[in-house]
């Protein structure tokens, strides 16, 4: 089987097209002036990344990505926007006044990473179809509970800690709230 840049396979074409959607929506997430639109573009970005997972034959991860990022995390963000009474309309204060250093750092990181990756993996090809058996729920669950049981259990404890921490942080009138003298004025 011959490989070449000039004769891309169907998977490659689909990957590049969905990748353009990912990059475009990602760029909109960090540049758009309306915070709610940024959160909604984040859904598009996460959904297209889920499609990329499917093209890389990670089917279970694709659905988990849709469920957790496209659903739970975005809803969290929208709730956060609502509860902080963030401006719904377009605002100028969303970005720092001087954006050139950030753009330079971003472009520098992009240039460096792309150069290194292209230099290192120029001659590597792989068949995503061959990895389909690795991404199924059965294979992933088998590996998770055969080799990664301890990290899995530690993660459940971490989730519990995060849950308790979030409750303690957002409780009104608790030990932390007592230190805020102007809290009652805001509430």
């Amino acid at each position: 089987m011959s490989h070449g840049y000039l004769s891309p396979t169907g998977v490659e074409i689909a990957f590049v097209l969905v990748g353009l959607v990912t990059l475009g929506s990602g760029l909109l997430v960090v540049t758009v002036k309306n915070l709610v639109y940024a959160a909604l573009w984040l859904i598009v970005c996460m959904g297209s990344i889920a499609v990329e997972y499917l093209l890389l034959s990670a089917e279970l991860l694709a659905w988990i990505q849709v469920l957790i990022y496209g659903g739970a995390v975005i809803v969290l963000f929208l709730f956060g926007l609502m509860l902080t009474r963030a401006p719904i309309g377009p605002t100028e204060e969303l970005n720092v006044r001087n954006r050139w250093p950030a753009a330079i750092v971003g472009l520098g990181a992009a240039g460096t990473l792309v150069t290194v990756v292209v230099q290192a993996y120029q001659h590597t090809w792989f068949d995503p179809r061959g990895a389909v058996s690795l991404g199924s729920a059965q294979a992933l669950g088998g590996q998770l509970f055969k080799y990664w049981v301890l990290p899995f259990e530690v993660l459940s404890v971490l989730l519990l800690a995060a849950l308790v921490g979030a409750i303690v942080l957002s409780r009104r009138g608790g030990a932390l709230g007592a230190q805020a003298p102007n809290e009652e004025a805001e509430a």
């Binding site: 490659e12 990059l23 991860l61 739970a72 250093p101 792989f126 992933l140 080799y147 979030a166």
Partner: protein
């Protein structure tokens, strides 16, 4: 599939997230950019998992772990932002300067005194 396609996509997405973290002032927008950073890393992990195919399935399992940690991080981060908003009535990161070093410009005679002290120490 050529290995460069998914890896370059991950690198570019990481750069976009980096720009967003640095350029945004609203704390919630910064959290969104951090999600982009994490997704760039997980995309790289999944593509390396498809390229290398080790028997432990590290790429996809680690992606699963990172998604879990990212969800916990977002919940905690938003709780902190809400607390910040309740105490300061703003979630603008540019306004939070309480821990910053106070900026006190020296007067010219003070600078002169510092110079003299340093010159005396050198002597």
């Amino acid at each position: 599939m050529h290995a460069v396609y998914p890896l370059v996509l991950g690198a570019l997405l990481f750069a976009i997230g980096l720009y967003g973290v640095l350029a945004r002032r609203s704390a919630i927008a910064v959290l969104m950019a951090i999600e982009l950073l994490l997704n760039a890393v997980t995309l790289n992990l999944v593509s390396f998992g498809a390229i290398l195919r080790d028997q432990y399935g590290m790429g996809q399992i680690f992606t699963l772990f990172i998604i879990t940690i990212a969800a916990a991080e977002t919940g905690l981060g938003l709780a902190i932002v809400l607390l910040l908003y309740r105490q300061r009535a703003t979630s603008d990161l540019g306004e939070q300067r309480e821990l910053a070093e106070p900026v006190e410009p020296y007067d010219s005679d003070e600078l002169l005194a510092v110079d003299e002290v340093e010159a005396g120490a050198a002597r």
